[in-house]
């Protein structure tokens, strides 16, 4: 990298616009990052409200609050909103804010396209959420949209599929931008193996996104033509096969779950060294572990469909391949623990969330390994055990990491310290209730309660009640998170540039709040600021 990434901001056409125009026309990575994060928070609340509808209905056996059709719409929409509206945009928002600052770049590589990637999202979600108000209702066949069921719904199918296309376009452009930024805009001296792990995990995530979002687009396009243009991709009468959809969907779907977790690994790998005041243990092995997980994620998809009737050889292959993922994942968990080993640790809110992540994500990983065992999977598949599994990895995994990241970088964004006391309360409140919410679901699943069902046998009542109470407590607790952010934006103790005593890396060398343009002249990356390592080899 030469000095070619010195920035020239084309500001001479006038003042920086203010008001709404500032946000609609922005090309600035920090503003666009903020837009992503705010959008994500809004979707988190919308999706959360849907989850509370689900938990309210499941508080007791029998049908009481909503009709089954609407219940199914809630499970479907909850998942779509949370995955594509809350978690993915949150990570992209964090990447927007932090990647250029972490690698010493003036902005994202393709600033106009950056604006486009974001602004597609509110429109796509308007389209998706609008289906709730249509006479035939929102999609109700589950977020996976399996045919033939999904093809038998009402008018919503076309809207969902086209909304998914829009989201896909947004994600692909976002990912292209992140890759171009990382590969092309690094400051002199910021070699690949000096990049912070958050940057590394995002580089690999962006690759996954570009590889699999188009596959999802292909899958749903075939749904569309099967429904409206008489094709028979998923229709056995015409020589097609509904299972074909599942293969294509999960070829996207499994890498997708890693898209939802790899940036979280990156975040935790930033936070733990800071609050342990030690360099990250096994930096290089972290990079290789991330890459291995990404590679393996392409060859395990059929563990979502063991019960469709696959040849034995295929089942064995997918079982063992899935279990192999536990190895690089274990490397990561080992490294995080080893980083803390004999560190002088403190437990500010970001660290608490990161620690919560390490423990609780591991529980989700372990239930994943249980699910990967073919004969056991025949029992657990499509039960609440699966629901418990993916909520441990997604809520206490991805969402906890996002919250850790917000607390960690909020002082850098706003220039103020957040309210530490409230932050700790938020952490403990969330951690306690999220376990009350999801842990009993393991037992429900093992006892045979199916997922996506509005009613259940009375023997499941107690655990469902506990789970619902946990759900409401956890859910309303998140309003505290919103309040803490609001309060921090409005004011608070002034943050220093470094913010955290043990923080390393370029983002902590710029003032807090970070000025609109950082690193217009690229910094020279010295060994010890580059990554959480004291000495580079």
């Amino acid at each position: 990298m030469s000095n070619t990434t010195t920035a020239h901001h084309d500001d001479h056409h006038g003042e920086h616009p203010t008001g709404l125009a500032r946000w609609v026309f922005s090309t600035n990575h920090k503003e666009i990052g903020t837009l992503y994060l705010v959008f994500s928070l809004a979707m988190f609340l919308v999706g959360g409200a849907m989850a509370l509808v689900i938990r309210a209905e499941l508080f007791a056996p029998g049908l009481q609050l909503v009709n089954p059709e609407f219940f199914n719409q809630m499970t479907t929409m909850h998942a779509l909103v949370m995955i594509f509206g809350a978690v993915m945009p949150a990570f992209v928002g964090l990447a927007n804010w932090m990647v250029p600052m972490m690698i010493g770049a003036p902005d994202m590589a393709l600033p106009r396209m950056n604006n486009w990637s974001f602004w597609i999202l509110p429109f796509a979600f308007t389209m998706l959420l609008a289906t709730l108000f249509m006479p035939s209702g929102a999609p109700a066949a589950g977020w996976t949209l399996y045919p033939p069921l999904s093809l038998q719904g009402g008018n919503s199918l076309a809207f969902v599929i086209l909304a998914i296309h829009l989201m896909g376009i947004s994600s692909i452009m976002g990912a292209i931008n992140i890759i171009a930024t990382i590969l092309n805009m690094r400051a002199p001296g910021m070699t690949l193996l000096r990049m912070p792990l958050f940057v590394w995990t995002w580089l690999i995530t962006a690759f996954l996104l570009i590889a699999v979002m188009p596959v999802l687009a292909g899958a749903v396009t075939m749904l569309l033509t099967d429904r409206f243009f008489g094709t028979s991709f998923f229709n056995a009468a015409g020589g097609g096969d509904p299972v074909l959809y599942q293969h294509i969907f999960w070829f996207f779907g499994h890498p997708e779950v890693y898209i939802l977790i790899l940036p979280a690994f990156g975040i935790v790998s930033e936070i733990i060294p800071t609050f342990s005041r030690k360099p990250l243990f096994g930096y290089t092995s972290m990079v290789y572990a991330t890459a291995s997980i990404a590679f393996l994620s392409f060859i395990v998809w059929a563990h979502h469909m063991f019960t469709v009737g696959m040849p034995l050889g295929a089942m064995l292959f997918f079982m063992y391949a899935t279990m192999v993922i536990a190895v690089p994942t274990g490397v990561k968990i080992f490294n995080w623990i080893a980083t803390m080993w004999r560190g002088s640790m403190t437990f500010e809110t970001p660290m608490l969330f990161a620690l919560g992540f390490v423990v609780l994500f591991t529980i989700g990983g372990l239930s994943g390994v249980m699910l990967a065992i073919v004969p056991a999977n025949f029992q657990y598949h499509d039960t609440y055990f699966v629901v418990a599994h993916f909520h441990y990895v997604l809520v206490t995994g991805a969402v906890f990491a996002i919250m850790a990241a917000v607390y960690y970088w909020l002082p850098k964004w706003t220039g103020h310290m957040y309210d530490e006391k409230l932050g700790k309360i938020h952490f403990w409140w969330s951690t306690i209730w999220v376990n009350v919410l999801f842990f009993p679901q393991h037992y429900l699943g093992l006892a045979g309660m199916p997922r996506r069902i509005p009613d259940y046998a009375v023997q499941f009542t107690e655990f469902n009640m506990i789970s619902s109470i946990g759900g409401f407590m956890y859910g309303f607790g998140q309003l505290l998170f919103v309040y803490i952010i609001w309060k921090c934006v409005r004011g608070g103790e002034k943050a220093t540039a470094q913010v955290w005593e043990g923080a390393r890396g370029l983002e902590w060398t710029v003032p807090s709040p970070a000025p609109l343009h950082t690193f217009d002249t690229p910094p020279l990356v010295e060994d010890n600021v580059a990554v959480h390592r004291d000495r580079l080899t």
Partner: protein, 286 residues
């Protein structure tokens, strides 16, 4: 590439135009599919907005590029962008090729009774014999014939391959800054592209009218038209790119060193070409 600094535009007005256009288009498409009366209109309006956006946006970029606002780092970012965009397109086609392979190697043989435990054959269609091409045990879409690979498709293959060569000759001319030959070979390439599209359209009409082969002809018709159809759409896009680039060549836009716009279109064209080779082999021949 005079500038030494990275160009970051102050604002961007085209993305939101594009977003609104796409939004109207998608709403229109969904309404249209659900037989809503406003669908086609909304779709057309949205489409027009998107087209205006493309012209406006690229126009800005071309102006900035010609005003020498881009340095080599910006150029490298554009290259990255184009490479990964093409990669995403490859994966999009991969989904449809995957469907084709799955149907031919697994689904259809299982329907014919192969493998253990695939009960569809025994219980639903015991008389069905696996074969390719097929429109499935229910014989959806009625009798049909296929298009033999070594007729027009072979000619089309040769046309596309030739167009790749003529495009490369044009590139040589560009690198020698010989505008006459450059424009000439661009035109030959565009002519070949149009020829390909004409033959492809003729083939579609022939299939629908004479051969009974339609989108509804079971899994064969589905995979055939989906793969060739999406490829055709990409050829149309590629052809439009080539036409725009040819006009820019005539206007003297590209220099020996600075012609990434040209190269991007060429990369896209070669990608379309390679996809066709896959299609020719797996859809028409094998």
């Amino acid at each position: 590439m005079g500038q030494s600094s990275y160009f970051v535009p102050a604002t961007a007005k085209w993305p939101i135009v594009g977003t609104v256009g796409m939004f109207i288009m998608m709403i229109g498409a969904a309404n249209w599919l659900n037989a809503g009366p406003t669908g086609p209109w909304l779709f057309a309006i949205g489409g027009a907005i998107v087209i205006a956006m493309v012209f406006g946006w690229f126009g800005d970029v071309i102006r900035e590029s010609r005003a020498n606002l881009y340095n080599s780092a910006v150029d490298a970012s554009f290259r990255q962008g184009m490479i990964w965009f093409i990669f995403s397109e490859v994966m999009f086609f991969a989904a449809f090729f995957g469907a084709l392979f799955y149907a031919r190697i697994l689904a259809v043989p299982w329907l014919g009774g192969e493998g253990t435990g695939a009960m569809t054959h025994e219980l639903l269609w015991p008389g069905f014999e696996a074969a390719w091409p097929t429109h499935g045990p229910a014989e959806l879409g009625g009798d049909f014939q296929t298009i033999p690979g070594f007729g027009l498709p072979l000619i089309n293959t040769l046309i596309l391959l030739t167009s790749g060569v003529t495009l490369t000759i044009a590139h040589w001319a560009l690198k020698k800054e010989q505008r006459g030959p450059l424009v000439f070979w661009m035109f030959v390439t565009i002519l070949l592209a149009c020829l390909f599209l004409s033959i492809q359209s003729y083939e579609y009409v022939h299939a629908y009218r004479d051969l009974g082969l339609t989108l509804g002809s079971g899994i064969y018709g589905s995979t055939f038209f989906m793969l060739t159809g999406f490829h055709g759409v990409h050829v149309v896009i590629g052809t439009i790119m080539l036409i725009v680039i040819a006009i820019r060549c005539m206007m003297g836009h590209f220099s020996k060193k600075n012609h990434f716009g040209w190269e991007a279109a060429a990369w896209y064209w070669h990608f379309v070409d390679v996809v066709w080779l896959g299609l020719f082999i797996f859809v028409y021949v094998v």
